[in-house]
Amino acid sequence: MILNFLFTLLFIIFSIWLIAYAESKIDSPKEANFFKVPKDLIKLMFKQMIIPSSASKKLFIMLPAAVITFTVTIYAVIPIKEDSVVADLNIGVLYTLSLLYLFGYSLILTGWSSSSRYALLGTFRLAGQLLIYIVVFGFILLSIVLCSGSFNIGDIVDAQKNVWFLFPHLPLFIIFLICMLVLANRIPGDSPFSDSEISGGINSEYSGASLALLMISQYAAILIMSALATVLFLGGWQPLFGLWDKLSGLPWLLIKLFLCIIFFIWVKAALPRYRYDQVMKIGYKYLIPASSLWFMLTALALFIMEG
């Protein structure tokens, strides 16, 4: 249990480091250095934190810590290998969903508490996006829960022993990929943090250590969404069709996780961002009908198959 916890923590720190390194590689290919990330972090920690006079100070200081706590704690329910997980919760799916909500709400409050117009615009954009995409995420979780018959994430992984959910649920997986980009506030769905329109949006008033926390929490969100993609669709620690059985467990999990993280970085490098109303349009017009329809189809198929 304690070993699991320590390992998970170290893993999170190391992956965030890697993601931040890859980010800086895109932004400035020549200056990027693997040890630049901790250096930047330490520098930010010792910088003066500027608090706007009109901000509500307690919330303004406390919320970045809350944001990062809510993201990282989701990782507690992700199993590393068989029967090896930090928290073996029977309601693991509901736990992730509620923590994702809390992550979004605390981000909304960060924007609200800094009482700047840029941050306020970012807050409204984030609130609008979150409202739709969490619902889509809920429909995706429901379909998966129907198939596996359990709310426990360990059981969901076990149910994918023969066939990963990726193959029967391919359209749902594509919806999940879009949903994942928006929930982690990444390009093309990062209009709440858009730097050219609202100068950083929710982050715009933050500086010093709390800015560092917010940045880390965004990278942690990438890691969490990749972990969820792995667990829900790519079979967690399970090998593909029983191939390389000896590597089942951590190596397979790592391969899948890093494929998902590469997807995030690849998308950021290649695509421009959507306008705010276009993100909303995709959510309301296409994703909610598609995901709810798929949920009903799954239920129907299961009903017919089980007689």
């Binding site: 895109i26 932004d27 290919p29 615009l121 050219s196 695509l271 421009p272 959507y274 705010y276």
Partner: protein
């Protein structure tokens, strides 16, 4: 700096937002005071004056050669193309006819600079929209081009050019332009031109009709993207442009996407022009100009000459009273008319549309605050 919004708010829940320095494609310092209702722009006031240099007044007390140094301050990026109208104007005032080789060389280097400028605007526009990769290819590509332009900031002189360009160097430029080897153009063709998100962000947005473009005094890309075939290089050809065969590129839609597309088309057009110019360049009639020979004291008169700079029509007007300094010196800058039109074209758009709209106008604040 008195252009703060003085009128009271006209709409319900209207508020002000300071919008400045975020768009990367704007060269120089400017800020906009936006009046927003939700995310819809109701007013968009540009606040200029952060870079005011007083060039036009200073020029009345400086000799004609020193004005060169003042014109350099107009833009940190396009040095050669901003000197171009002034050189042509002085040559006409003094009745000098530069040799044909000089005329061709000027065209070649002005076109190289145009390629650089268009690439910069496109990549900055992509960066404003959140895509960073075109910038990296632009840096890679412009390193190659800057090799041709290095040590040539003072190349253009009244009556000629400062030093001859060797055949070896011309051959290098020829090989580069004939192959049209431009990683940047190849990459953005699928990173931006065919990109679904980029199209959705730019197609049908910021539309400018023919009449609007003409009445707001837009020039250059913004005018040609709205369907007006007006390119000073072909309609009033100066220097060697009359000996090159080309048609101005024109698009009809007049939205942001067509302005972007026109820039990519003009890059390949400039490649053609450079290739043609090097093919037709006469070998031996270069005489270097020594500045001491020219004690400039033009006859009294008034003259206006404009050229097609990368941003649009850049004109210089001089009233001379026969002395060593001009009586009146005036610059017609393309960005000035583009900036004042932003309030009209920005109205009714959402905040997200304003950024690509500003990027597509190719604003250069150095010439607005002159």
């Amino acid at each position: 700096m008195n252009n703060f919004i003085s009128s009271p708010f006209e709409y319900e829940n209207e508020y002000e937002l300071n919008f400045g320095l975020q768009p990367l494609s704007v060269e120089g310092t400017v800020r906009f005071i936006l009046s927003l209702q939700g995310e819809e722009i109701k007013k968009c006031y540009p606040c200029i004056g952060f870079e005011h240099k007083g060039i036009e007044k200073l020029a009345e007390h400086t000799s004609y050669h020193q004005i060169f140094e003042l014109i350099k301050c107009l833009s940190s990026f396009n040095v050669l193309s901003y000197k171009y109208p002034y050189i042509l104007l002085m040559e006409k005032l003094l009745n000098i006819k530069p040799s044909r080789r000089v005329q061709f060389l000027r065209v070649i280097f002005a076109e190289i600079e145009r390629i650089l400028n268009h690439m910069k605007i496109i990549s900055a526009m992509a960066q404003d929209l959140g895509s960073d990769i075109p910038k990296i290819y632009e840096i890679k590509q412009s390193k190659k081009i800057n090799k041709f332009l290095s040590n040539k900031k003072d190349l253009f002189q009244i009556g000629g050019i400062k030093f001859d360009i060797s055949d070896k160097e011309l051959e290098e430029i020829y090989n580069w332009s004939r192959k049209k080897e431009n990683i940047f153009l190849n990459k953005i063709s699928y990173l931006l031109s065919e990109n679904r998100i980029f199209k959705q962000r730019t197609k049908g947005i910021g539309k400018i009709s023919k009449e609007e473009a003409l009445s707001w005094g837009l020039t250059g890309i913004c005018l040609r993207a709205s369907g007006v075939s007006w390119d000073l290089r072909s309609s009033f050809p100066y220097d060697a442009y009359s000996e090159l065969s080309f048609e101005p590129e024109v698009l009809e839609e007049g939205d942001i996407y067509s302005r972007y597309l026109l820039r990519t088309k003009e890059i390949s057009q400039s490649f053609d022009l450079i290739t043609q110019a090097i093919e037709n360049i006469p070998k031996e009639d270069f005489c270097p100009i020594s500045l001491k020979e020219l004690s400039i004291c033009p006859v009294p008169g008034e003259l206006y000459i404009s050229t097609e700079s990368p941003a649009g029509e850049l004109g210089i007007s001089i009233i001379s009273d026969g002395q060593t300094t001009p009586y009146r010196f005036h610059i017609r800058s393309p960005s000035f008319s583009h900036l004042q039109a932003l309030n009209y074209f920005g109205k009714g758009n959402s905040l997200g549309n304003l950024v690509p709209l500003i990027s597509s106008f190719n604003l250069n604040i150095g010439e607005v605050d002159r």
